[in-house]
């Protein structure tokens, strides 16, 4: 007999059955979500990043900017050519370098270096950067992304491993930050440079993971 406050035997079993399924589903969700998020969790704490050699210092003439390629440190068997990455290496003087990501800070297209005019130009939406990577014109909001580098035993080595994108923390810590690199086209390059080198040097000191 079923009243308003009672429940039938069948009804109880059905509810228990639903509850049982709910519990099992919840338990199975954990491995599924962990599997789906593996590409995020694996890269936590900069695990994707490591130091990769670009070449001997002598391969990069002083005052010039050269294209260098490296193999991304994180490789899976089906990656093919996609792990080969290009970057622009500017040897300022002595062991002082700037290593720029190939990806435009706007939307990631490959920028090209024009030594005659001292500009990086992007083929996609017309972004342009000066030789020190700071923004010259076009849609980018900031200067080119830079890789942290060090020179050890005559080898130029950079810390790389992630696609530099405008929002990625690893990319935005380095390079010409918007306050000193972008905007105000009428400010002379020299004043920009001096302002930038100070902030960037400070950034490099405080934020290297090496």
């Amino acid at each position: 007999m079923t009243g308003e406050n009672t429940i039938s035997r069948r009804g109880l079993f059905m509810k228990l059955g639903i509850l049982f399924n709910g519990l099992v589903a919840t338990a199975l969700t954990v491995p599924i979500v962990r599997f789906l998020l593996s590409s995020v969790t694996r890269g936590r704490a900069s695990a994707y990043l490591s130091w990769v050699p670009l070449g001997r210092v002598s391969e990069f003439p002083e005052g010039e900017t050269r294209l260098a390629t490296f193999t991304n440190p994180y490789v899976t068997p089906t990656d093919g050519k996609t792990v080969d990455t290009a970057c622009w290496v500017r040897r300022v003087e002595g062991e002082q370098f700037q290593v720029f990501a190939i990806n435009c800070a706007h939307l990631g297209c490959p920028v090209r270096w024009f030594p005659q005019s001292g500009l990086f130009m992007c083929p996609c939406h017309g972004g342009a950067y000066y030789r020190d990577g700071s923004r010259a014109s076009g849609p980018p909001e900031r200067g080119l992304f830079e890789y942290p580098y060090k020179v050890k035993d005559g080898m130029v080595t950079i810390q790389a491993g992630e696609l530099p994108t405008p929002g990625s923390p690893t990319a935005s810590l380095f390079g010409n930050e918007p306050p000193c690199g972008a905007r105000s086209e009428l400010v002379s390059i020299e004043s920009k440079l001096s302002a930038c080198s100070k902030t960037n040097a400070l950034l490099r000191k405080t934020k290297t993971w090496a």
């Binding site: 590409s39 990455t85 010259a136």
Partner: protein, 495 residues
């Protein structure tokens, strides 16, 4: 009863599908909906079925691996019998599907079909459009070439701008830290399993609602939709003036479906398959990636947005557009259906069409991008060199060598990023030219560090000669007065 009839009866006794199918086929529709305007929905379904078939055929050969995909597409194009044709059908089918879905949507919008009681049919349709665009983008990724590679980079750069969650979304999208094997695998899963599965489900839902609620009647100006009375009126319409869908209206759908398939096949035969372009090797940087046709407008928009607007526009824009489309039937669920009495609706459609068309047209020749080879490829036209002094000709050399030409055209040759310089001397005085070259500004980089004083002098001397015959160059009258220069002499020297 013949043998075939008996077999049919045997199956129907077990399936019991004949009666519901006959009911669905012969359900009455308003007579005036048997129109050529009402064929786009079934055409979209036809192209979708074509995509399913050609997609399965391509999957017989295609290898979803970053190291093999490009080669397997080459094999399809060149080695497998008619592989090129199936690829071309699938590629052109994709373009046709986006186009037909958009036309269908515009027709439904202008005929007021999204109003009561067909709100949910419209909303499901909005999601069908989004899934169609998702299929178009993920399909472009599967054609794993340079455009696909850098297109993913653009996608990742956009996704990374989401506050806080950006980097997480990028890694989820790429399946790792960079665009690589895992990226292609997950886009394969999206393109082949996830989105098509959802599409099939949503298409069924969409069709079911069209059957249950009836096709939208031909809108008559002045016949207003009211929630209280509409369903009654519609039943009157179908009962009194209705005709069975099969065969009364279906023949136009059948003809148009066959025509669309023929058109896809004709394009496939004539134009062939899309790409693949160069190998997806990120060390090959001599490339100017471009998205497929239906995303060109976005590519154009992204180069015109001011830097400060870009992130908000990219992140908020799509949300606003989708929210508006979903909310549309709730904002105007009743009232006038006919486009003849909805001028704002018609103007909105026209405005959007013109904006998208213009951006697509511009993205076809990207006036915002420097012409990377103009400085070495496009000569300075003869009329700008004839009778010039040695200094001015030296300036023309500087103009080429310093790649000014990549952004500025002379005689219609060269980049269009900056203004054409054929008559720049009319607009800027000598001092203004020097300042512009050295300091840049107005979206031009500063060249102060890359030009010696001698080069600047020569370049400006050349630029000062760029004015139409018979039109004097701009001059600073106050300066002339202060320096006591003879105006006529100056102009004479500059022709």
């Amino acid at each position: 009863m013949g043998v075939i009839g008996q077999i049919g009866q045997w199956f129907d006794q077990r399936l019991q599908l004949a009666a519901p199918i006959r009911d669905a086929a012969e359900h009455p529709v308003p007579r005036n909906t048997a129109s050529w305007f009402y064929v786009f929905g079934s055409a979209a379904l036809t192209v979708f079925l074509l995509q399913l078939v050609t997609g399965i055929l391509l999957a017989l050969i295609y290898v979803p691996s970053a190291s093999e995909a490009w080669s397997s597409l080459q094999a399809l194009n060149h080695d497998v019998t008619l592989g090129w044709f199936i690829r071309a059908m699938h590629g052109w089918g994709s373009n046709f599907m986006v186009a037909v879905v958009l036309i269908h949507m515009v027709q439904v919008f202008l005929f007021g079909a999204y109003k009561f009681p067909r709100e949910l049919t419209w909303i499901v349709g909005v999601f069908l459009l989004l899934m169609t665009l998702g299929m178009a983008f993920s399909g472009q990724v599967l054609r794993f070439d340079q455009d696909a590679y850098w297109g993913l980079g653009i996608g990742a750069s956009i996704a990374s701008r989401v506050p806080i969650a950006g980097p997480i979304i990028v890694k989820l999208m790429l399946g790792g830290p960079i665009i690589a094997g895992a990226t292609l695998s997950r886009f394969f899963a999206l393109h082949v399993f996830v989105i098509p599965g959802m599409l099939i489900g949503f298409v069924c839902l969409h069709l079911l609602m069209v059957l249950k609620l009836g096709i939208n009647e031909w809108p008559m100006p002045g016949r207003l939709v009211k929630r209280a009375t509409y369903e009654n009126e519609y039943h009157q319409l179908t009962r009194k003036d209705g005709a069975p869908f099969v065969p009364y209206a279906v023949w136009k759908d059948l003809f148009f479906a066959a025509f669309i398939l023929l058109a896809v096949a004709a394009c496939a035969l004539y134009f062939g398959p899309f790409g693949p372009t160069g190998r997806p090797d990120p060390t090959i940087i001599q490339t100017a990636p471009k998205p497929d046709y239906f995303f060109l407008w976005l590519y154009g928009l992204l180069s015109y947005l001011p830097p400060s607007m870009e992130t908000p526009a990219l992140l908020i824009g799509p949300v606003v557009v989708i929210a508006f489309l979903v909310l549309l039937p709730f904002l105007s669920g009743e009232g006038e259906k006919s486009w003849r009495r909805r001028p704002i609706a018609v103007l909105t459609v026209l405005l959007i069409a013109i904006i998208l068309g213009t951006l697509t047209h511009l993205a076809g020749y990207t006036p915002w991008s420097p012409h990377m080879n103009a400085w070495s490829g496009d000569p300075v036209p003869e009329q700008f060199l004839h009778g010039r002094t040695a200094l001015e000709r030296q300036g023309a050399l500087v103009f080429q060598v310093k790649q000014c030409r990549n952004c500025h055209s002379l005689g219609d040759l060269g980049g269009q990023r900056g203004p054409a310089l054929d008559s720049v001397a009319v607009r800027l005085t000598q001092d203004q030219l020097i300042r512009q070259v050295i300091q840049g500004g107005g979206n031009m980089p500063a060249y102060g560090k890359n030009l010696s004083p001698a080069e600047t002098t020569a370049l400006v001397a050349f630029l000062e000669t760029l004015h139409p015959r018979g039109q004097a160059p701009a001059r600073d009258a106050a300066r002339d007065l202060a320096l006591g220069e003879d105006k006529d002499q100056r102009q004479g020297a500059q022709r």
